[in-house]
Point group: C2
Chain length 227, copies 2
C-alpha cells in the first residue's frame, strides 16, 4: 500500500539472527510496496527501559513523592518529556502500522521492548482518563506482534494455548490504546529446525506481508484468547 | 517461620509510595517472624534490564552471531556471568520464598523487573533442557506476586479476569522454573481510594503475612487462570 507509514520496533541484539532476517524482509517488502518504513532498533539505540525521573525534563509536579504515571502525564502536557521519548512518540504518531519484532523471552517481550511500552505510551499521548480501548488515543492505527520462540509449537500446546500469553501485550497494551490488532506472526523454534524449514518461515513472512493491508484485525475480546 | 530466607525483588522508584509501604511491612513482619529478609531494590540499584553481551565476562561461545540464551548458558557453566547477575542468582539460590513487589504497568511487571527475570533466570541456573515445570531447577521454593494497580477491581473485571494477566508471569516464568506459586496479592487502585481504605489494604497485607507459611500454593494449571 503505497504511502502507508510503518514503524518497526525491533528488539534483537544480533543482525544475523532469525529476528534480524525477519526485520530485513519486512523493511524490503514494505518498502517495495511503496510504504515509508522506520525502524527503532532498540538494542542498537541502547534504548533505556527504566522508567525514572530522567524521563522528565525540568521540574517535577510533585517532587515530594515521585509518581511516574502522574509525572509523565504532566510532562507530556507541558512538552517536558525527555528527547528519546518525544522522538519515539513522533514515530508512533506518524505510523499507520506498528510492527513489533522480537524473540519471546519468558512468555513475553524482552525487557527492552517492555520498557519502550512503559515509557513511550504515556497518559495524554496513548490514552486518557476516559479514552481507552475503542476510544484510545492511538485509534486508526494497526499493529502486529511478530516473534520467534525457543520451544516448538507442540511444546507450547501442551501447556495451554499460545494465545493466552498474547492477552497482556495485544489487549492490555495495544487494544487499550485503541490500536487495532492484526493476527500475531509466530515463528516457532527457528534455532531448532532445519535450514529448509527456516527458509520456509522466511518465505511465509514475505508472503504474508504482500497481502497484509487486506487483513481484518482480530476481535480483541477475551473470547479470541480463551474461547 | 523463624529461619526461613526471603528475597523481595522490589520495583518502585519512590520509598514513600504505596508499594514502598507494602515493602516496609513485608520486611518488618517477616523479620519479626525470625525470617532473614533480603531486598533487591531494583531502581535504587539502577539494575540493568537490557540483555546484552555485557552479561558475559570474557570470550563468547560464538562471537560470529550473538545468541543471548546460548551465551548466558555457556557463561553460567564456566562461571562467566557478570557480577550483578551472579549476586542476584546467589540471593535466589538461598531464598525459600521470592516476593515480587511492583506496580502493574501495562498488564504486566515494569521493564526493570522483567529485565531481572530475563537476565537472572538463565538456562543452567533456573531450568535446563528437560528440567522445567515440576522438574525446574528452582524447585523447593515459593513465590508471591504482590502488586498494585491503577484501575479499580471493577474496571479490570469488565475486560475479563485479572487472572488472565498472571499467566505469563506466574506460569510462564515461576512455574516453568519449578517454583510453587502462592496466590497473588493485589491492591487495587491505592492512589484513587480513601486514606482509610489504603490503611485497610496495608493491614490486610500484614495479616496475610502472619499466616503466609501455612498457605498452600495455587494449582498453576490453565484451569486456575481461565476456568
Amino acid at each position: 500500500m503505497a504511502g502507508k507509514k510503518v514503524l518497526i520496533v525491533y528488539a534483537h541484539q544480533e543482525p544475523k539472527s532469525f529476528n534480524g532476517s525477519l526485520l530485513k524482509i519486512a523493511v524490503e517488502e514494505l518498502t517495495k510496496q511503496g510504504c515509508s518504513v522506520t525502524v527503532s532498533d532498540l538494542y542498537a539505540m541502547q534504548f533505556e527501559p527504566r522508567a525514572t525521573r530522567n524521563d522528565i525534563v525540568g521540574h517535577l509536579h510533585n517532587p515530594e513523592a515521585f509518581n511516574y504515571g502522574v509525572e509523565t502525564w504532566e510532562a507530556y502536557k507541558r512538552g517536558g518529556l525527555s528527547k528519546d521519548l518525544v522522538e519515539e512518540q513522533k514515530k508512533v504518531q506518524e505510523a499507520d502500522l506498528l510492527i513489533f519484532q522480537f524473540p519471546l523471552f519468558w512468555f513475553n517481550m524482552p525487557a527492552i521492548l517492555k520498557g519502550w511500552m512503559d515509557r513511550v505510551l504515556v497518559q495524554g499521548f496513548a490514552y486518557d482518563l476516559s479514552k481507552a480501548y475503542d476510544g484510545g488515543l492511538l485509534q486508526g492505527k494497526l499493529c502486529l506482534f511478530s516473534f520467534t520462540t525457543g520451544g516448538s509449537k507442540e511444546k507450547y500446546a501442551t501447556r495451554g494455548d499460545i494465545r493466552y500469553l498474547l492477552w497482556p501485550m495485544q489487549h492490555g497494551i495495544m487494544h487499550f490504546c485503541g490500536v487495532k490488532v492484526l493476527a500475531p506472526h509466530i515463528c516457532y523454534a527457528p534455532e531448532s529446525v532445519s535450514e529448509e524449514k527456516r527458509k520456509e518461515m522466511l518465505t511465509a513472512w514475505t508472503q504474508r506481508l504482500k497481502t497484509l493491508w487486506k487483513e481484518e484485525p482480530i476481535d480483541c475480546s477475551p473470547e479470541w484468547y480463551f474461547k
